[in-house]
Amino acid sequence: MLSRTAGNLYWVGRYIERADFLSRLIEATLRLAALPSSYGGMTNAWESALEAAWMADAYAARGGAFDEASVGEFLTVDPANPSSIRRCLEAARANARAVRTALTLEAWEAINGAWLDVQKYGTRLEDRDQLGTMLETVKASMLAFDGAAHRTMLRGDAYWFIMLGSAVERADNTARLLDVKYHLLLPHGERVGGSLDYFQWTTILRTVSALTAYRWVYRDTVKPWLVADLLILNRQIPRSLVSCYEEILHRLDQLSTSSARRGPAHRLASAGCAALDQAKIDGIYSRGLHEFLREFIADNNRLGAAIAEQYLF
């Protein structure tokens, strides 16, 4: 496969994943912000959403209130925010369009359809209904893309590069989400049950669609260290760091069977996988959750760079 094509497909995977993550983050924040303050409903829920999306600085530079209307618009349709959902879909589509031949008609239609749908909203959202509808549409389109890719694409380089990009982005998103909330996940001052932070933890789980999963896995009330355990070390959760790294390694293996080449990206992914494999949540906490996540994010960035280098994007 052409290296440029591979690069474009990898970024299609990343942008689609990012758009999906943003939609889920906003939905979870809408719910959190609506709670009365006596239940831990936060006045700064939108500030925290911006941090989880790593767009707090960009938002501060632009200026605006930390409320649903303003932050919601910034994260979704703002054309000046290079990481808004709108811009993510534009970038995904531009990458897909550049390699139209590497996608099936169905996969292309899903991306093009998502882009067309979001265009309809223009650059302003009128009300909460519109925000809600838009988020639903985006999530549905992203699922449609996954389904189209899964059902129609050849199991070959094109498919593997999309999946690789999507796994690298997913790992990054989960780690950043946890890092923003890491202080809430620390065990000190723990009050089992009625913690005001309960809603914060469930918000994290909702953002990655893992609240129900949590209950099935632990059969326990929501406890912060178990939330961290679930999202870092649980292999059953598709967005956990360990699942993402298993997928990354798997995709790199598949790619190397067709090219018979292993390179630095492979070594980094194997090392990351092995580290997560050995890790225990107690160990992570004793070393420091924040430090662990920071290191993980930096390693993941290095992996991204190594992939680009290995496949000559």
Binding site: M1, L2, S3, R4, T5, A6, A94, R97, A98, V99, R100, T101, L105, W108, E109, N112, G113, L116, D157, L255, S258, S259, A260, R261, Y311, L312
Partner: protein, 475 residues
């Protein structure tokens, strides 16, 4: 409904009834109320929009991705009409190839005085880098788009020869797919010749011109200027249908007199390049040094006989409109036969007598730039204001060599779905001729372009024209 021109469905102005070949279309139109037709048109538009067929119009940023309007009333040609056209097209492309081989080779035609030497050697389309070069099989124009217009039942004229990088074939193919979905009943009733064989024929042709060094399994690629080019959709569409890589200049590089593409598995050799990039941008070492779209060293690989380029470099001289005016003589010179398809009488403004006539008759004439395309920079006299004519006359006097003029032809009309119902609109036809070492082929039909504005004669998609499916049916 018939207007002043010959109508594809009704025949001569004032004739009663429909032409036989259109009887099923006439029945279909009569049996479909306007709202049914507009619903069908909406379905077609939705289909085009979803699959992302768009066409960028230069100089209009808002319309960066516009749909070419598609008309759901097909244009129908009878098998006997097609047989004549096909023979004429193949004859013409053979002559074009012989002409190019000659002017870059022995130049017999210049010595015989049939075409003036300065018209060739001073022509911007004449590429000095190609003098003495021989592409595989001495084939230069592998893909030709010959624009035809009709003025009467048996009168077909060639309006232009597009011998550089003709576009539009993706619309021909997609229009057919849409029509198959919209009106399956008509396809069941009529025996319409298929066009879907085009991608196979194109790939076959590209393989046939591979250099001998390529061996049995040549690698062909499609070279595009990139996704900002107005025809990018077509480039990606064709690469997909052919199953070949869609490459940009930066994907290719030259080493040891070979062209390679950069792949995730390392460099891979390329033997045939179907390029949709103009000559000037192909190789910055030989042509425009500022080109970021080309491949440095590409021409040296061609010279070494290790890569084939389709169409060959330097074919622009053959679609120059001043050369066009000599096509009847060129066809006779190389084929020894009379041209099957007519040429439109053409005044070459470079000749002072002709210039005088043209200046005196501007309101009746169509004036075109000799090296222009896409309907840009032309004057349609009968539709121009006095002021436009005056401005154009100044341009013409200042630079007569750049222009030719032709009478305004009464282009045939074809029933077309307009806002108020079915109306007559002017059409042309661009069939695509493929030529490889195994001969020339034309898929039956081509792209019918239609001027959607009432009375307009400009069918170019860059000027707001639309397209129709073209059916060749047995008489």
């Amino acid at each position: 409904m018939p207007g002043k021109a010959f109508d594809e469905m009704f025949g001569h102005p004032g004739a009663a009834g429909t032409r036989d070949v259109y009887a099923p279309i006439s029945d279909w139109l009569n049996g479909s109320p306007l709202d049914v037709m507009t619903t069908r048109r909406r379905q077609a538009e939705l289909f085009f929009r979803r699959i992302g067929i768009t066409f960028a119009v230069y100089g209009d940023p808002d319309a960066a991705e516009r749909l070419i309007p598609f008309d759901i009333v097909p244009r129908v040609l009878s098998a006997s009409e097609w047989a004549t056209m096909e023979a004429g097209l193949i004859q013409r492309v053979e002559a074009l190839n012989a002409f190019l081989a000659d002017i870059y080779g022995k130049q017999d035609i210049l010595r015989s005085g049939i075409v003036p030497e300065e018209l060739i050697v001073c022509n911007p389309g004449f590429n000095l880098a190609m003098i003495g070069k021989r592409p595989v099989g001495d084939i230069w124009v592998h893909i030709a788009g010959i624009d035809l217009v009709r003025t009467d039942a048996d009168d077909f004229y060639v309006l232009e020869d597009n011998a550089r990088t003709p576009s539009g074939v993706s619309y021909m193919l997609e229009n057919r797919e849409v029509m198959l979905k919209l009106v399956p009943e008509l396809f069941a009733k009529l025996r319409i010749r298929p066009v879907e064989t085009y991608p196979d024929q194109l790939l076959d042709m590209l393989h046939s011109i591979a250099p001998p060094a390529a061996g049995n399994a040549p690698t062909a690629v499609l070279l595009t200027p990139g996704q900002h080019n107005s025809a990018f959709y077509e480039h990606s569409f064709l690469a997909d249908k052919l199953g070949i890589e869609l490459v940009e200049g930066s994907d290719l590089f030259v080493r040891d007199a070979r062209v390679f593409m950069r792949t995730t598995e390392g460099p891979r050799r390329v033997d045939v390049i179907y390029r949709r990039l103009d000559d000037a941008f192909l190789d910055p070492l030989v042509f425009r040094p500022d080109s970021m779209l080309g491949v440095p060293g590409l021409m040296s690989v061609f010279d070494a006989g290790n890569v084939s380029i389709a169409n060959a470099v330097g074919t622009g001289v053959a679609d120059d409109k001043a050369i066009y005016s000599y096509m009847p003589e060129i066809i006779r010179f190389y084929t020894g036969a009379e041209p099957v398809l007519k040429n439109v009488p053409t005044w070459r403004c470079r000749e002072s007598e002709a210039l005088g006539y043209v200046l005196d008759h501007l309101p009746e004439l169509v004036v075109k730039e000799v090296d222009g395309s896409g309907g840009y920079g032309m004057l349609v006299g009968p539709h121009a204001t006095k002021a436009m004519i005056a401005t154009f006359a100044d341009k013409l006097r200042a630079n007569p060599d750049k222009f030719i003029a032709q009478p305004t032809l009464a282009l045939s009309t074809c029933p077309t779905l307009c806002d108020g119902g079915i109306e007559a609109r002017h059409v042309d036809l661009r069939p695509f001729v493929l030529t490889g070492t195994n001969g020339s082929r034309v898929v039956p039909g081509g792209l019918t372009r239609v001027a959607l504005e009432q009375g307009s004669l400009v069918v170019n998609s860059s000027q707001g024209g639309g397209t129709k499916d073209t059916w060749v049916v047995d008489d």
